[in-house]
Amino acid sequence: MNSRTHRYTDSRKRIWILVALPLLLILVLPGIALLLSAGLPAVWTAVSDPIFKGALLLSLKTSILSLGLIFFFGIPMAWWFAQSDSRVARILEALVDLPVIVPPAVIGIGLSQAFGRNGIFGKVFEHWDWGIPFTFWAVILAQVVIAAPFFIRSAVVAFRELDQELIVVARTLGHSPLQILTRVVIPMARTGLVGGLTLAWARALGEFGATLLFAGNMPGVTQTVPLAIYSALERDVHVAVALSLLLCALALVLLFLLRKFFVPVSLKERS
């Protein structure tokens, strides 16, 4: 490649960067602003705030449990969507994506209508003296509904990309459908699944609207970190900023750990 071609390519690259710059700034600026506006003393105040510890523990507990439920029930669902040619599967697959496009507040109201005291299923639970709204389980339910589509979408794509001949081979080698799922399908789709889990986990951790409407904002019971930030904003904006920063840091650490330990070294690199 001669120097003239080099210059032409470089200038073309610069144009793309220039066009992308405004969006890039909008995406990065909130994080930078948080870093700049929250000093160490404010972070320390936020950490020592009694609300923080409870909210953080609840966020971790609920998001991890939600993630487990999403994985356990999401894998068979995604596998069915990926394998089935039926119209029913296609319609349900589209419906599962609904929480992604519907505002979380609407999901919160929907959950109340379904599981609230006078809701369709709420009456059944009421009969057993088990009210879901404004409890720990309401937080879980809100997180699962909001976050599951992110995992299911990634899993369906990962499953569809698998070499179907390998599934056939596994069947002829005497493995049951469940063994094939655990020994072939999940390990081979691992990268896509971890990607989906990361997205779902991030979405569950940051869930706000549906949780507020369906589970409330009770410290120690249903107050997750995003709700604690909302409450702190009314008292002390510095604490709210520091809590936001901590939530970002937590998300980054867990994202890094997930990527480091669960995404396999690419097969190309191994060769």
Binding site: D163, E165, L166, V168, V169, A170, R171, T172, L173, G174, H175, S176, Q179, R183, V184, P187, M188, R190, P264, L267, K268, R270, S271
Partner: protein
Amino acid sequence: MTNWSAQFEFSRGDLELKVDLQGADRPLALIGANGAGKTTVLKILLGIETPSSGHFRCGEALLYSSEKSICVGPENRRRAYLPQGCGLFPHLDVLENVGFGLRAQKSLSVSEVNKLSLQALEELDVSHLKTRNPIQLSAGERQKVALARVLTMRPEMILLDEPVSALDIMARREVREILSEQLHELKIPAVLVTHDVRDVRELSADVALLDKGKISLQGCYQEISERRGDEKIHPFLKEFLGDFN
């Protein structure tokens, strides 16, 4: 000697099959144009696809019968399958790949599985590859590893889909020799889909031509090759036989 027969009807989209095949211990080469449904025939014999009617009998075992509502699943048929791309699992090393079928047998311990897998690799002179990942192997090595996995299963029938098409000339010759040797030793029926007459000759296989959804001709290679000069010979068969004697 194990006699087998398969007679079935199958339809999906544009593909309509009305197949009648018989065989014994001698391998059967299924030939035909692309899209004729050869691989689908293999998948029906494996139990992956279910025909609308017919039967598939191998020796005393009735594996499929629409009349008697019998359909043995692929996991219980003991039909080994060697697909075009070898079908090795990229997330497992060679030893784990070979032992994959044995792992489905609950009676075997991990050490027994490893021992049997290693034996199969040794039999094909590829035990030095046991810790490698399949993508690190040459096409010929992959084929041998896939064959080793088939051997560990002690199948009652082997189905091969263009087993040497992805190999270079030297590897083709080597794999054909190994296949011929193993099939001769195992004395079990085999069906292979191929576009290469050398596969038929080397494996001393019978030939069945699948055309327009039907088996338009079935016989031993010798008989069929003698018809090369026949004016009424099927054009695909004429091309397939080519200049070989």
